[in-house]
């Protein structure tokens, strides 16, 4: 700022202050509208134009980047699968007190039977099995096994109904009993080849009051047959689940007042069910799989009943849910804390070595002639033009026990042939390779900051009596800190989420948390846990960014 403008500014301020004193209240424009408002109006077009210019990128980023990430992060707490697949069970299980040591009551088993039957028909039970298997091993096979032998319970009633009247094993009488006559007429008129959609199943009036369970299960059946198989419920015999439901309805309700279709068949059954052989659902489920009488099975299902869970996050920090609240896992099962710590430690090491190696180079770059600097800069950027995989593999060749460096050391006699150094598939290898790969991200911001520091500062410091070191440390270095900050943030954030290099050269001790996330995404398919780990990683980075802002100040970061 020159003195002229410095002199002008206070005068200007004084003038406007005087004006404000004349006219209290908000400033107005020539037509008496508030000045702010007319300023906004005049700038609106400009803002709109700016928005239009960035709109394509904004939409692209929103759709392809932000939205999927948000969805992924949401998965870390999402747990709807349990209550969606087992709605009755989870509802009834809510009141169960796991700490008493008693198994849930019959109503829960009843719900489980209904839920599981429908889920098995819809082939959803294995998905739930694998979900719960993350929390308790054996769940996956329990659900798969149960899906197969669940018919055993219903068959008890099915056989007895069929023995009573073979019509109970026919499709049409069931449809007439439960379906709306109009719907049956439409259904019969419907031509499969016409291309029109099938008329959606509708229950007969009053039937869901009379036979609530039967109506509900038959609806589920009809819906499934229509939507999944594309068949007509008029031609399909219902599931044995419906027979079970009918048995329960007839035992509980009085159907003597019913006079709709198939009333005779229903009333005959009503008269007979009293003498039917029956089985409790609890016993039935025990017959399906003994694990259903295991207390921990129910604990797990109850713990993961809510639609949202902190289970993934607890898992991601080596904890688990117990009936008594969250608790640490056993020492030998803890893995993520170690991985997070290792990731942080190694990222810091990589950032540190990048500073140590990059600072002198950046200094050199900014202090040689432009032509030489450009040549050196090309050498710095050269790795960018080489495939990441090639560079990482090259390090594998260099560092392995029969590799170039070991060979040279043996040849020089510095190490014995039988005690070659282990430099790959461990932390050392990962740090070396990643330092090399991320070095340009340190050098470039450093260089761009150092370029703006005029050499006169060093001269001035020396003329004031500072030695070379003092001049550097007290005058040059503080001014290059923004470059170090920018480079460190870049390198640290890049390395904390790095995947390929640790995967290739990391072995078992040099892998990062990102490798574990990738494993859960692509191998174990535990996306919820992967999302939780990713969320923690993101929070960690944001936290560090915040801390950096508080300590150094983000204004001090210069990226170019």
């Amino acid at each position: 700022m020159s003195d002229a403008t410095a002199g002008a500014a206070p005068g200007h301020k004084k003038a406007s202050a005087a004006k404000a004193a004349e006219k209290p209240g908000p400033m107005v424009d020539a037509e008496g509208r508030p000045l702010k408002e007319s300023l906004n109006r005049s700038l609106r077009l400009q803002k709109m134009r700016a928005l239009m210019l960035i709109a394509p990128l904004l939409i692209f980023v929103l759709l392809t980047f932000i939205a999927p990430i948000a969805d992924m992060l949401f998965r870390s707490v999402q747990n709807g699968i349990v209550s969606e697949t087992l709605p009755r069970t989870t509802h009834r299980l809510a009141d169960w007190d796991a700490t008493t040591g008693d198994l849930p009551d019959e109503a829960v088993y009843e719900g489980l039977y209904y839920d599981l039957f429908i889920a098995a028909e819809r082939k959803l039970h294995t998905r739930l099995g694998s979900r719960l298997n993350y929390e308790m091993t054996g769940m996956s096979s329990l659900f798969r096994q149960s899906g197969r032998s669940l018919d055993d319970i219903g068959d008890v009633y099915f056989d007895q109904f069929k023995d009573l009247d073979p019509n109970w094993d026919e499709a049409m009488p069931w449809a007439e009993l439960l379906g709306d006559p109009e719907w049956i007429a439409e259904m019969q008129a419907w031509d499969e080849d016409s291309g029109e959609t099938m008329p959606t199943f509708e229950l007969a009036d009053g039937i869901s009051d009379l036979l609530p369970l039967t109506a509900e299960t038959y609806s589920a059946f009809a819906d499934y047959v229509q939507s999944e198989d594309g068949d007509s419920p008029l031609q399909e015999e219902p599931w044995v689940l419906v027979h079970t439901a009918l048995y329960q309805d007839l035992m509980a309700k009085d159907v003597s007042g019913y006079n709709g279709p198939q009333a005779a068949m229903l009333k005959a059954a009503d008269a007979a069910v009293g003498g039917f052989e029956s089985v409790t659902f609890k016993d039935g489920m025990e017959g399906v799989d003994g694990d259903w009488l295991d207390h921990p099975t129910w604990e797990t299902i109850q713990m993961y009943s809510p639609e949202f869970t902190n289970g993934y996050f607890l898992n991601a920090v080596d904890m688990q849910k117990t009936p008594d609240g969250p608790a640490m896992r056993d020492d030998d099962q803890r893995i993520y804390g170690l991985l997070f710590k290792r990731t942080m430690f190694m990222s810091l090491m990589i950032t540190g070595s990048c500073i140590l190696l990059g600072y002198p180079i950046a200094w050199l770059l900014s202090n040689v002639r432009v032509r030489t600097a450009n040549l050196l800069l090309i050498l710095v950027l050269l790795p960018f033009w080489t495939s990441l995989l090639v560079r990482t593999s090259a390090w594998k060749v260099m560092l392995q026990q029969q590799g170039v460096i070991n060979d040279v050391l043996v040849w020089l006699g510095l190490i014995a042939d039988d005690s070659r150094l282990v430099m790959i598939n461990n932390q050392f290898g990962t740090i070396v390779a990643m330092t090399h790969i991320l070095l340009p991200f340190m050098i470039l911001p450093l260089y761009s900051v150092m370029q703006t520091i005029p050499p006169t500062y060093l001269r001035a410091a020396k003329s004031l009596g500072a030695t070379n070191w003092t001049a550097f440390w007290r005058v040059y270095f503080p001014q290059s800190v923004p470059g170090i900050g920018a480079g460190s943030i870049l390198v640290f954030i890049l390395s904390i989420g790095y995947y390929i290099t640790p995967e290739i050269v990391g072995g078992t001790t040099g892998t990062f948390i990102s490798n574990r996330i990738a494993y859960h995404i692509s191998s174990s398919l535990n996306w919820g846990l992967a999302a939780a780990l990713g969320t923690i990683l993101l929070a960690l980075v944001l936290g560090l960014y915040y801390a950096y802002d508080k300590i150094v100040g983000i204004d001090n970061v210069k990226l170019g």
Binding site: D3, P454, K462, S463, R474
Partner: protein, 366 residues
Amino acid sequence: MTDMAKQDAFVAFERVQKSYDGETLVVKDLNLSMPKGEFLTMLGPSGSGKTTCLMMLAGFETATHGAIKLDGVSINDISPHKRGIGMVFQNYALFPHMTVAENLSFPLEVRKMGKSDREAKIKRALDMVQMGNFAGRRPTQLSGGQQQRIALARALVFEPELVLMDEPLGALDKQLRETLQFEITRLAHDLGITVVYVTHDQTEALTMSDRVAVFDDGRIQQLAPPDELYEKPQNSFVAQFIGENNALDGTVQEVRGNRCTVRLESGDVIDALPVNVSKPGDKTRVSIRPERVEFNPELGPDAHTLEAEVLEFVYMGDVFRTRLRVAGRDDFVVKTRNRADQVRLRPGEKVKIGWLPEDCRALDAT
């Protein structure tokens, strides 16, 4: 220069040469000695070697040949931070990450001075440049003029005996420059420090300095006090570089003691003072200051006058500036004081001009 004077010299350049590329000399055989307390300005066009000389004195450039002495001791091999020379840079070079007080404290800290001493000195230095209230500010919060005052205070705070200034006022506007010129000279005299000041602004050089060294082509063309430099330039370059000057080319016709006659290229003959000419036939360029020319002069009976035609008359307030066609050139300028009886010429008028022979210096032909 006598041996005595050389021994007394506080700053001395002895046969100093400097080359950057090993092919051309930027500084050619520089000899210069300054007594203590002198304010010496190195003046010259850019590329004349003046800044290089300053940098060699500060220690940021090494002399290719010759010795630079400070207080009789050669400082060629002493690194800059041990020379104890204060320096003010053109772009101020205030450390942006330090406050004003920290900037001033820096030279004292590296000298391991105690805290209370430092504070006292900083306060005194800031008061000296009337910036006492700005100790806590950052350089970026100051205007250019304020920054330069701080830079000055920083160069003086550790009480160096020699202060170098490299075009310190170059980036400031005219009014501020004049104020600071005055302040710098006042401070230099009050503190009794020796100052080497580099500038390409001749007004600055003339108003501030005890002596001015005019640089051109790697050499000192003339080293003299301002009045001598202006009134008695030793060669055509200095005459042309310092102040406004009328130059006429011609050949020496006759030399008689401290008078000579010169025949101009137009055939006119004029009287002059022989400075760089010795015998008839020498090519010369004569130099006459615009304010020493008289219209219709009443000189001696044998004095020569020239015919001139008025081309332009400019009213400049305190003076009139008249441009004339003289001896075939139309860039001849005459300045006359604005007096009540002063004649105001109109373009197209014919007039006779003349001057005292001692005001017309016959210099080297370039």
